[in-house]
């Protein structure tokens, strides 16, 4: 468990399933919900519980984010890390999108960056956002992510197509940004 000044980040647990299920809201499509074919996937509560009970699958990959009062504020993940890969897809999904502008979200990104670049020695992290996720995009850009481009009309939800933007953060750029922050 990582205890920061604003956020507590810990491995996801079976007990988290009712609250986590709130994030899987079909009326609010977000990149976090996209499966391998970039389709919006909403698991049932049964499926979510089953996944959360698989410690072997989730270990080091999927985390919940709480505030200092112990309230669940979202989750984050480093997906697709394999021994041969040198990058990973990351996602930070906060229940309240206004939270992306808060220090709590910044601490989550610090955790992701540290886990990706220093613990796993990855070269880059990749994030995605739908064109409706303006706050999430701002959050990624604020932390040094650079756009790789936009895939047009990529995701179908709510009766229309959404564009999907891909963004990357390289380890060197992240280190430079951290040094800049440190002054």
């Amino acid at each position: 468990m990582i205890v920061g000044d604003h956020a507590v980040i810990r491995a996801a647990d079976l007990d988290d399933s009712p609250l986590l299920h709130r994030l899987y809201d079909v009326s609010k499509p977000r990149s976090f919900l996209l499966g391998p074919s970039r389709e919006v996937l909403i698991p049932t509560r049964d499926e979510l519980q089953e996944v959360l009970s698989r410690k072997d699958l989730l270990s080091g990959v999927f985390f919940v984010v709480e505030d200092k009062q112990g309230e669940l504020r979202g989750c984050c993940s480093l997906r697709g890390v394999t021994s041969s890969a040198f990058f990973s897809e990351m996602a930070v999904a906060l229940v309240d999108e206004a939270d992306y502008a808060t220090p709590l979200a910044d601490e989550v990104m610090d955790f992701i960056r540290y886990g990706g670049f220093h613990e796993r020695k990855l070269r880059k992290l990749m994030g995605h956002c739908l064109d409706r996720e303006a706050r999430y995009r701002e959050f990624l850009v604020r932390h040094g992510f650079v756009s790789n481009g936009v895939q047009r009309e990529m995701v179908y939800a709510l009766g229309r197509y959404f564009d999907l933007e891909s963004l990357s953060l390289f380890r060197d750029a992240a280190d430079d940004a951290l040094q800049e922050e440190a002054g």
Partner: protein, 210 residues
């Protein structure tokens, strides 16, 4: 005048196994498989077996593999349609053709036909194509189709100790309609229906002496 390409696409079958396995010596084919170089020949063979005939009888596949068949030389390539998202109506296409025809018109025709298959037969809204930045031959063919380069993925794939950039292309149905209209006037006879007719004709009439 209608072109007679003498090259066809068809579903891959188990009978193609030996031919497709023989392509694994070609680095371009290993890239097509997105293979990890640490994999054993047995593992590569298993991947190929999984690709051939896996869609038979399947109503809703998320991957379809097509063989490019030449009337003269037999199988000369493989086309993969993977990551099919039936709600997004999108998929990823990868193409492989053997070295000797890679520069020829046949490769472009096969590519056009697989696009036609995706849009006209599978009803796709969008096709994704990912290609190594160094593979200019491939991405030029892709760009001629009207696909837009949407992504530049820097230092994205490692092969043999080198790290390569990749381009991500997207072709929307509207782009395809434009291409089809444009292509129709220049290259009559290469669409799927003509292909089927030509294949029937070739099967019915024994090849004439040269």
């Amino acid at each position: 005048m209608a072109l007679k390409a003498r090259v066809y696409i068809r579903r891959a079958e188990r009978e193609d196994l030996d031919t497709v396995v023989s392509w694994r010596e070609d680095p371009a084919f290993i890239r097509f498989l997105y293979g990890d170089r640490t994999r054993s020949p047995k593992q590569i063979r298993e991947q190929i077996v999984g690709m051939l005939g896996r869609t038979a009888g399947h109503t809703m596949p998320n991957g379809i593999f097509l063989v490019v068949d030449s009337e003269k030389s037999g199988p000369i390539g493989l086309l993969s349609i993977v990551n099919i998202g039936w709600r997004n109506r999108s998929c990823n296409i990868d193409t492989y053709v053997v070295e000797k025809v890679r520069n020829s018109f046949l490769a472009a025709i096969s590519f056009y036909r697989v696009l036609e298959y995706c849009f006209q037969e599978l009803g796709m809204h969008r096709v994704n194509l990912f290609v190594y930045a160094f593979n200019a031959r491939s991405w030029r063919v892709i760009e001629r189709s009207g696909a837009k380069r949407e992504l530049l993925l820097r230092e994205h794939v490692a092969r043999d100790g080198e790290v390569y950039d990749m381009y991500g292309y997207g072709l929307l149905r509207a782009d395809w309609e434009w291409l089809r209209e444009d292509f129709k006037s220049h290259f009559k006879g290469i669409d799927l229906l003509s292909m089927v007719a030509q294949r029937k004709q070739a099967a019915a009439v024994p090849e004439a002496a040269p």
